[in-house]
Amino acid sequence: MLIRPTTAFAHPVLSPHTDDYGDRTFDILLEIEESPEAGEVVLSGHYVLDDGDVTELIRSRQATVGIVVESLETYFQTFVPLSGTLFTLEFKRGELRGRVGIQAVVAATEDGVALRSPHIASDYPAHTKSLQPGQIVAASSIHWFEAGLDKLLPMESIFRLIANEEMGDGMFQVGLDTEAIQIEVNRKLYDTIYGIRGSSMRDILLPSLFLPAVMNALDAMRTSGSEGLRWHRVIEARCSNEGITIDANTDLAWAAQRLLEGPLGLLGTLFKEEDR
C-alpha cells in the first residue's frame, strides 16, 4: 500500500514528509513510458538513499526495499521487492489506468529490527526504534501520473455548440448538465463561430470562448454532481496529468489557461498571419 503523507507513525520513518532523519533523503528517479492505445506502461528508474544505517538494513536483509504501484481504477496494487537500486517494471496487460501512484518503500523483515541511524531525531525514545516485520523504515514521496487515453483527448472534443434563439447578440451561455459542455449562442453567432471553426482563425475561439467555459466547468467540479459526465472525466484526467488540484483555493483562470496551454499566446500568431 502507498504510505500517504498523512499517515502517522509511533517510530521514526525516513520520508520527505517527516523530519525524523534530519536532512537524510530517500526518493526515486522515475521514467514512465506509456503506450495508452495498447494499455502498456513501463516504469523504470532507481532509488536514492543516503542514510548509512537504512542502507545497511537493506544490505543485511533486515529490511527490504520495493516499489509500490497503485491504480485503484483498475483494482490493482502491487509491491515489487528490489534486489538493487535500479528497477524496470512492466505492466502490459492493461493493469494501469487513471491516477496511478508510485512509491519506494523500505520495510522491516525481521522481529526487533533496530534503527541506529545517528540522524534520527533525539526525541524518539529507545523503545520506538525496534521494528516488527512489515513496519515502515522509509517511504519516498508518491509520484503520480495519469494512465490511459483520457488525458490525450483534445479539449475541443468536450464542447458542443448549440443554436438558441433566446440568446442575445454576442452573448453565450455555458451548460454543464450534459455529457459535453454546451455552449449556447443565437443563430447568427452560431453561424459565425461555425465558420471560424473551419478557418485559420479557429484558434481565436480558445481564449474567447473555451477559456471562460473551462473556468465554469472547473468551478462546477469543486462540488460533487458532475463526476459521471464526460467533460468532467476528461478535464479531471488532464488536471491529474498536469498536477492541478481542483478545490476551493484553485485559481480557476490560471488552471484553465494551463489546460488550454496558454491560449492567449495564440493571438500573436493570428495577428501575424492577418498582417501578412
Partner: protein, 238 residues
C-alpha cells in the same frame, strides 16, 4: 468468437443525454434499429464470445449473481482491466447484446419517476464506482476479475464468499484499498471459508474489518508469508 464492439463518443453522448426520450426503448423496443447505422459498431482488437450473455438470470439473489459473474467473466475473459474501465464498451453491451438481462434485472417494477435514474445508474458505467458496482454487466465482470485475482484456481468459490452478504462485498470490493492488497484479500477469503460465524454475522465482520483497518494501516504486510498473514487475520477476528 468475434471482435468486441463499442459505441462511438457521439452515440454514447446521444444516449446519455436522451434517456427520457428513449424510455420506451429501454422498457421494450430496444435499440436494434438505431444500431444498424451510425457509430454503434467500433471493433476492438479483443475476441469474445457473447452467447453466454443469453443465459444471464435476472434475479437478485446470491446464486444468480455468482452464476452471472462467472458467465460474464468467461464471455469477456480477454478484456483487460484498463479496457474494462471504458464505459463505451459497457454502453454497447447493455443497450444491445445484454439489454434483455439489464432490463429485466434493473428496470422491472421500477416506478415511472425512478426509471430514468435507474437507467443512468445501470446502463452507462460513467464513473469508476458505477462501473465496478452498478452497471448491469460491468459489475459482474469486475466481480469475476476480483475473485479471479484472489483465487485464480477457483474464482467461483471466492465469488460465493465475497458475494455472500452485501457487507462483505462492500468491505472487500468497494473499499479498494483493502481489496487490492492481494495477500491481505486472499487471507480474508481463506478465513471466511473456514469461519462461518464471521461470514454470517454482520456485526462480527464489521468489527473484524475495523480492527484490520487500524492494524494494517501504515504497514507493508505484503512482505509477510501466508502463515504470518493468517495469524494477523486471526488476531483481528479476536
Amino acid at each position: 468468437m468475434s471482435k468486441l464492439l463499442y459505441v462511438g463518443q457521439q452515440t454514447a453522448d446521444f444516449l446519455s443525454d436522451n434517456i427520457e426520450e428513449h424510455l420506451d426503448r429501454y422498457r421494450e423496443a430496444g435499440f436494434e434499429d438505431l444500431e444498424s447505422s451510425g457509430d454503434w459498431r467500433i471493433p476492438l482488437s479483443v475476441e469474445v464470445d457473447l452467447t453466454p450473455l443469453e443465459d444471464l438470470i435476472a434475479d437478485n439473489g446470491r446464486d444468480a449473481e455468482v452464476r452471472n459473474s462467472m458467465l460474464v467473466g468467461h464471455a469477456l475473459a480477454s478484456l483487460t482491466p484498463s479496457l474494462a474501465r471504458e464505459n463505451r464498451v459497457w454502453i454497447r453491451l447493455s443497450h444491445i447484446e445484454g439489454i434483455a438481462y439489464a432490463r429485466e434485472r434493473w428496470l422491472h417494477n421500477v416506478s415511472q419517476e425512478k426509471i430514468a435514474q435507474a437507467i443512468r445508474i445501470h446502463f452507462f458505467a460513467s464513473t469508476w464506482t458505477q462501473c465496478r458496482d452498478d452497471h448491469a454487466l460491468s459489475r459482474l465482470w469486475w466481480n469475476h476479475h476480483i475473485a479471479s485475482s484472489i483465487q485464480p484456481d477457483d474464482p467461483e468459490r471466492a465469488l460465493r464468499l465475497i458475494l455472500s452478504t452485501a457487507d462483505i462485498r462492500s468491505n472487500l470490493i468497494e473499499r479498494a484499498r483493502v481489496g487490492t492488497r492481494l495477500p491481505l484479500a486472499k487471507a480474508i477469503v481463506r478465513r471466511l471459508e473456514r469461519d462461518a460465524q464471521l461470514a454470517a454475522s454482520e456485526s462480527a465482520f464489521r468489527n473484524f474489518m475495523k480492527a484490520l483497518n487500524i492494524r494494517a494501516a501504515g504497514a507493508q504486510l505484503e512482505i509477510w508469508d501466508e502463515e504470518r498473514m493468517d495469524r494477523f487475520i486471526a488476531q483481528c477476528v479476536e
